[in-house]
């Protein structure tokens, strides 16, 4: 187990290097930050001065080497927009995104676990059909549209919840629910199929034949094992939540990593884009390793060499 973790951590390095290279190149071939920083009336001379001051007149490979060298020391450059160091700017947004992701995950679990189990137990019944249809709808509904609809209903018409921004618990409910619904749709289907798989296993039949109450069979024997694949998908979803809440964060003006990244891309704030993608890649890689570890704790049959 220990060697497994050590090995995985070593593999992180090339992954991050490749990610950094791709981002570095993409960011540089898609536009000129100097043009965005200067007023429309700036002269060619102003541009030259700023280009030089930012080191953008150097050849690409030289810029990349310099970038990696600094990145290793935690320096991803200075944000053009804020004039501050990029990494702290990215890290200070993590709590907001993390808070939203955890809350969304809780909503998703609350919705998906009971629905998934029920539809498995009552498979091919009317209830199952309803749940399946709901999860298709939930998955197909764009976050963007749903967010706006929820705002209209709960904030504008009913006045129950704040429209946007980050503040107390009440600010968290709508964006987290928006994200959670999409997520739960996928989880419901997964839990259903995973449970169905297990309900057909011999040991479940054995348990039933011993006369154990159905609720205990499902709750204790089947449910626990049925969760293993769910844990995997949850962790994968969680990481995509951290980096991928772009749309939801924008709709709800939630000051998280997603919104920072969207604005950075629009304003061509290279340092922020690089640092943010790097941090997201790091989180994804680390949480994949954690998933494997947790997986093993749940299912001792899996061995890592």
């Amino acid at each position: 187990m220990k060697t497994y973790i050590a090995k995985s951590l070593l593999q992180v390095i090339p992954v991050l290097l490749i990610v950094s290279l791709i981002v570095f190149i993409l960011v540089r071939v898609t536009g000129d930050p100097v043009a965005l920083m200067l007023p429309e009336t700036a002269t060619a001379e102003d541009r030259a001065v700023l280009t030089q001051a930012l080191g953008l007149d150097q050849p690409l490979y030289a810029q990349y080497i310099k970038f990696i060298g600094s990145a290793l020391q935690g320096d991803f450059g200075t944000s053009f927009r804020y004039g501050e160091s990029a990494l702290p700017l990215v890290l200070e947004r993590l709590p907001a995104s993390f808070e939203l992701a955890v809350a969304a995950m809780i909503f998703a679990i609350i919705i998906a676990v009971p629905l998934g189990v029920i539809s498995a137990v009552k498979r091919n019944t009317f209830t199952d059909l309803i749940i399946s249809s709901l999860s298709v709808v939930g998955k197909a509904m764009p976050n963007f549209w749903m967010g706006i609809m929820l705002i209209l209903l709960f904030s504008v018409m009913l006045g129950m919840l704040p429209v946007s921004g980050r503040g107390g618990m009440e600010h968290l409910i709508l964006p987290a629910f928006t994200l959670g619904v999409g997520l739960s749709a996928q989880m419901t289907r997964l839990i259903r199929s995973s449970m169905l798989d297990i309900l057909n296993q011999d040991y479940i039949r054995t348990a039933r034949s011993k006369g154990i109450l159905e609720i205990v069979v499902i709750g204790k024997h089947a449910f626990r094992n049925g969760l293993i694949p769910v844990v995997t998908i949850m962790s994968l979803q969680f990481t995509s939540l951290i980096g991928g809440t772009l749309i939801t964060e924008t709709v709800f003006a939630w000051p998280g990593l997603g919104q920072l990244l969207v604005v950075a891309v629009n304003t061509h704030d290279m340092a922020i884009v690089q640092a943010a993608v790097f941090v997201i890649a790091f989180i994804v890689v680390i949480s994949n390793i954690l998933t494997d570890v947790v997986y093993r704790l749940f299912d001792p049959r899996i061995k890592y060499s």
Binding site: T30, G31, A35, L36, G83, E99, R224, F252, A253, Q259
Partner: protein
């Protein structure tokens, strides 16, 4: 046993979220007590825009949304009133000493938010910083200032490297926001940016990036007690969310209302729409380089005549625009009213002109490049041109790609752009037609215009300088290196609780916004 564990970890997770949420919730109050009329009795003004400020450094900022907030914290030596006339700010009077020197008499008894007195030393520090540090985003507007001389504690001389008719315009815009020299010299710029201090009516309280800036009133403001106890600037990128915040009553003013939401807001009780022309004219810039189809003046005229500008304003812009044949709109120095609120539209003549230009069968083929933010306008323009016989290839670019092509001057025959004017002076619009600047972009070359523009650059005689620009405008309206579509208007949604008159410079001076009676 296992169930118990699951239950426990579930509860732990829930508590963790609650703690997280509580940590992340500074006491900015719920949405309900941020609107103008609060139950708590303290007067709070909440304004929402699409973009956040960039920083509290008035010298390293090039963003109207930032300046709109910062004008409440930092004062200029002189201000523009809502008609863009220069009125006293931190300087009470000013006069020209010679062609390169202006003398400013400073207001006495003014203190910064930390209690430091405001003196000529602060003017020297501020102006020389932005004039000399070429990494600052405002530097290009101030680099012609050679030095600032402290005459006495309340008098400063600003010396330029040549005659500069625009000095007063420069001193009344972002980049000239006066910062405290003693405080910065002692604590460093980093500390200043975390805890910015100015002389303005509102003091910095809090900045949560991409969420809100909170300002509180400065009890010691030199013009008396500010109107509001607190001013909150929220950044809400999504327009429909801003509209919803306004309708839900949690903000007082929302900027950047999409034309499609105008009716919805007007239909709501207690809400209204206010509009004001802004400093941005949407235009087509045409190339006159040898070999380009737009080098032919008949083709350029045909483009102008084929586009129904009023129709575009009424449809896509939702009525928020004013047609014009000049980009120097009223309120800017050098404006020529005879070209404003005028438009040419004559599709029959456009067709005729194309025939005269030799296009009897296939019409002229040309590329129209545009940033995706103006995509809809470009589509309509292309359709109108195609209808009269042109063959337009539309080239829609992502904004940063557009900017790059723009600054490298690599567009083909025609591009669409909205150009603003933060200096309120015609030179800002027309320097692009100077021979050197026009190279590669329009390749415009008219010796008469060149002479007028060059002279106006350093002409300190206001009356003759104004004439020069008006002459240039008349010539350009015929030469058409650019075809102007319309001056854009800012659309704001407000609650009836506030009395807000939008400004053409898009600033939010909280002191000019009053609680409605």
């Amino acid at each position: 046993m296992y169930r118990h564990k699951w239950f426990t970890s579930g509860i732990t997770l829930l508590i963790a979220v609650m703690i997280l949420a509580a940590c992340g919730a500074p006491s900015t109050g719920g949405s309900k007590d941020t609107a103008a009329s609060t139950s708590t009795g303290s007067k709070v003004l909440t304004i929402a825009s699409a973009t956040d400020i960039e920083s509290f450094d008035p010298h390293n900022n090039n963003n109207t949304a930032s300046e709109a907030v910062l004008v409440n914290v930092f004062d200029y030596l002189l201000k523009n009133d809502s008609q863009q006339k220069k009125v006293p700010g931190l300087a009470t009077t000013w006069e020209k000493v010679n062609d390169t020197t202006w003398r400013f008499h400073l207001r006495e008894g003014v203190t910064f938010h930390n209690g430091d007195p405001f003196t000529a030393e602060d003017v020297k520090y501020t102006i020389e910083r932005v004039a000399k540090d070429n990494t600052l985003k405002q530097n290009s507007y101030f680099k012609n200032i050679k030095e600032v001389k402290v005459v006495d504690e309340h008098t400063a001389d600003i010396i330029t490297d040549g005659p500069d008719p625009l000095l007063l315009n420069r001193l009344s815009k972002m980049g000239a926001g006066i910062v405290p020299s003693k405080y910065i010299e002692k604590n460093g710029i980093e500390a200043f940016l975390k805890n910015p201090i100015g002389t303005g009516p509102y003091k910095f309280s809090q900045w949560m990036k991409d969420d809100r800036v909170v300002l509180v009133k400065n009890d010691k403001y030199y013009e008396g007690q500010p109107k509001w106890d607190q001013v909150v600037f929220r950044s809400i990128p999504e327009a429909s969310t801003r509209v919803s915040e306004l309708l839900a009553g949690s903000i007082d003013i929302a900027s950047g209302i999409p034309s499609t939401d105008i009716e919805r807001i007007q239909g709501e009780e207690g809400k209204k729409i206010v509009k004001a022309p802004i400093q941005r004219v949407l235009q087509l810039i045409l190339r006159q380089s040898q070999g380009s189809v737009t080098a032919d003046s008949k083709v350029r005229e045909a483009i102008d005549l084929a586009i129904d500008k009023k129709g575009i304003v009424d449809s896509i812009a939702g009525g928020a625009g004013i047609v014009t044949r000049t980009s120097v709109t009223p309120g800017n120095f050098g404006a020529d009213p005879s070209l404003y609120e005028k438009t040419l539209y004559d599709p029959t003549k456009a067709k005729e002109l194309l025939k005269q230009a030799g296009y009897t069968g296939e019409g002229p083929a040309l590329t129209l490049s545009v940033s995706s933010i103006y995509k809809e306008y470009a589509e309509v323009v292309a359709a109108m041109l195609n209808k009269e016989g042109f063959n337009i290839k539309l080239d829609v670019l992502e904004p940063s790609a557009f900017s790059e092509r723009y600054s490298s001057k690599s567009f083909k025959e025609m591009f669409m752009i909205g150009i603003g004017n933060s200096l309120f002076d015609a030179s800002n619009n027309y320097n692009r037609y100077l021979l050197e600047e026009a190279k590669g972009e329009t390749d415009y070359n008219n010796p008469k215009v060149e002479k007028l523009l060059q002279h106006a650059l350093t002409n300190l005689d206001t009356a003759s300088r104004e004439k020069e620009y008006q002459q240039v405008q008349q010539i350009l309206a015929e030469d058409r290196p650019a075809v102007y579509l319309f001056q854009m208007e800012g659309i704001y949604g407000t609650s009836n609780g506030v009395d807000f008159q939008p400004r053409s410079d898009e600033m939010f001076y909280a002191e000019d916004i009053a609680p409605a009676k």
